[in-house]
Amino acid sequence: MRQRTDVIFVYDGTFDGFLCCVYEYYYSSFNPVEIICEEDIRASLFQLVTITTDIFKSDKVSRAIEEKISPYSLRFLRECLLCCTKEKEIHMLGYIVKGFKKGAYVHRLAGDGDVSYLLKAHNHLKREKHLYLGLVRFYKANDAYISVIKPQNRLLPLMVHHFTQRFANQNFMIYDATNREALLYYEKQTAIVKADNIELPEEDDEELATQKLWKLFYDTIAIKERYNPRCRMNFMPKRTWDLLPEMKDL
């Protein structure tokens, strides 16, 4: 019987770490009220139980999810961990628990609290990813292209494929200032690295000239008779504006 519900699981923020929490849920008497990443630890009345990541345990859980639920669900859960909401882990646990009972159909239980929560969070993630495929703006410095973004979710793992395909022959870096990590692409090698402090090179004159050309294009293409700022803001929220050259005063 699961007697102990007054605990919080703490894990290291990786997907393997989360799967170990699932393992712990099944093999101990704990039924956590919350699962949090070790970076988010705060004072709480509940007891904190730190779950150490063990590849053997996580492997076992991931294989179980693949077989008893579906490979798609495993992929889905992996992506859910990139969402920006704080309570995603406990809903993911709920999803997995129900999944082990119902199989692949769990994903369609859209009326269920856990499932619909995750579907919504996942949708938010996918939507933002699509938006940022367009809103990433590079500037050129010393033969490399550099971009800074401030998304809400962790988007970099999802953007790797698109950008390495598109800019296969140029070195680039996308720095995610919200989550403090960078996607590096150098000489056809890709890496996502944590980076708390980075120093970015300045834009040179040639770069500024290109940005001015772009801003000129942007300002000219709008039809005055159809001015509709509300519509623009719906598509492109203001929080994204400060990193776009076309929205700056050049």
Partner: protein, 436 residues
């Protein structure tokens, strides 16, 4: 003339083109620069709320033609400019490498003649594709009257090609664009369609057969510059989809630029509401399996100002409703106002696992504002909803976003100079629909 001036002139001249879509093809990267995503990607939105995904410019705005509606007509005194093929290719690649754009949308005025202009456009695109290895999206206009050899070449280079039909009927076209004719427009359109079908067949036989205009062709027409009814325009649109297999037909609300006796006066407001209704109907044709005859008939040749075409159709066909969400086929779900392709698919997808009630519908993201008058869940209508034409109609009209009365004041007992405004709701609606 420096690049800034050129870009300003040629962008300003291109801005009235409606299309900016970059969807329809998937191009992987060939190891060099560029790719294209089938879903299309918008890169920014301009102040008028339209998305910008392509670098939309004219190759030149010098023009031999004298089309009455066009800002670049021969008889207009406007600053003129032209790119060189190299300049244009450099500009595109510079923007593309910074992820400003998804590709290029190239249109042009006519220098010397249609073929000469097309050759210049082809040269610019050739530099992009073959010298710079650019693998991104390219949309090119085909100028009416272009010879078939050049249509063939542009189709092999570009993702999408388009010939503008400009006016909804041959008579209006002859009146406002004396240099263009129905035949000059439809001939290349037909040629593109036939060649594309041939390429599709070849591709099925030989894996490396070249693709011809893989993202298909589109066209554009001006709405509100001539007297044609919505029914006429919609029938024409349907014909274009059926006979020429177009991907898109764009409508552009007429914005008066030139004073011409064949056109509405200069102070006419662009008929934005009408354009909006036509686009709604266009979506119904393309994604909802509607036919033009279902939406409008000879008695009702214009769309309802207060209701969108789908609601209007549903209210006139109340005998088909209510629809049971848990059992109705996809085609019928699509016909419910407020349920679109996404919602219909989600319903089908979710109802395989469990019976759906109104709460579940809300959770999977179906918006019930309009749909509630036309559906039942497990045989029951939504709480406090009567499924009845009058009831639904009143509610739907009230819930449409109506124009805001900006000059209306709160009445005050101490306000001596109060005079009621004589603007009625109808007047404001007429303004929006362009009748005033």
């Amino acid at each position: 003339m420096d690049m800034f001036e050129k870009l300003k002139i040629l962008t300003d001249a291109a801005k009235y083109d409606a299309s900016c879509s970059s969807s329809g093809t998937d191009r992987g990267s060939g190891g060099s620069v560029g790719s294209a995503a089938a879903c299309g990607i918008c890169h920014t939105w301009s102040a008028d709320g339209r998305c910008i995904s392509l670098l939309k410019v004219l190759y030149t705005n010098y023009c031999e033609f004298d089309c009455a509606f066009c800002i670049n007509r021969k008889s207009n005194d406007v600053p003129r400019a032209a790119f060189t093929p190299r300049e244009l290719a450099d500009l595109t690649i510079n923007f593309y490498k910074r992820n400003y754009i998804e590709g290029l949308f190239l249109s042009s005025g006519v220098i010397k003649n249609a073929d000469y202009t097309m050759e210049l456009i082809i040269e610019a695109i050739r530099i992009l594709r073959y010298e710079y290895g650019f693998n991104g999206y390219i949309h090119s206009k085909v100028i009416p009257g272009t010879s078939p050899e050049l249509v063939e070449r542009i189709g092999l280079l570009a993702d999408r090609v388009s010939v503008n039909i400009e006016m909804p009927s041959a008579e209006s076209l002859a009146r406002v664009a004396p240099d263009k004719s129905k035949a000059k427009i439809l001939t290349p359109m037909k040629a593109i369609q036939t060649r594309k079908e041939q390429a599709t067949q070849e591709l099925a036989l030989y894996r490396h057969a070249p693709k011809f205009a893989p993202a298909g062709q589109s066209t554009q027409m001006i709405v509100g510059a001539s007297a044609e009814s919505d029914l006429h325009i919609l029938r024409l649109t349907q014909g274009l989809y059926d006979r020429y297999k177009l991907k898109r037909v764009y409508f552009s609300a007429y914005i008066p630029i030139n004073n011409d006796r064949n056109l509405p006066a200069l102070d006419t407001k662009p008929p934005l509401l009408r354009e909006h209704r036509l686009y709604q109907a266009d979506w119904l044709l393309r994604f909802y399996k509607f036919r033009a005859e279902e939406l409008l008939d000879d008695e009702h040749t214009m769309f309802n100002e207060f209701l969108d075409p789908k609601c209007n159709w549903a209210l006139n066909n109340m005998h088909l409703f209510p629809v049971e969400v848990n059992t109705a086929p996809y085609e019928l779900l699509l016909r419910v106002p407020g349920i679109g392709v996404t919602s219909a698919k989600r319903i089908i997808w979710a109802r395989k696992a469990a019976y759906l009630d109104f709460d579940a519908l809300k959770k999977i993201g179906v918006v019930l504002k309009r749909a509630q008058f036309f559906i039942t869940c497990k045989g029951k209508a939504a709480p406090y909803v009567k499924i009845d034409r009058d009831h639904a109609e009143r509610y739907l009209i009230a819930s449409e976003k109506q124009p805001v009365f900006s000059d209306v004041e709160q009445i005050s007992m101490f306000d001596t100079g109060f005079s009621p405004q004589n603007v009625t709701k109808e007047d404001i609606l007429k303004c929006v629909s362009g009748q005033m």
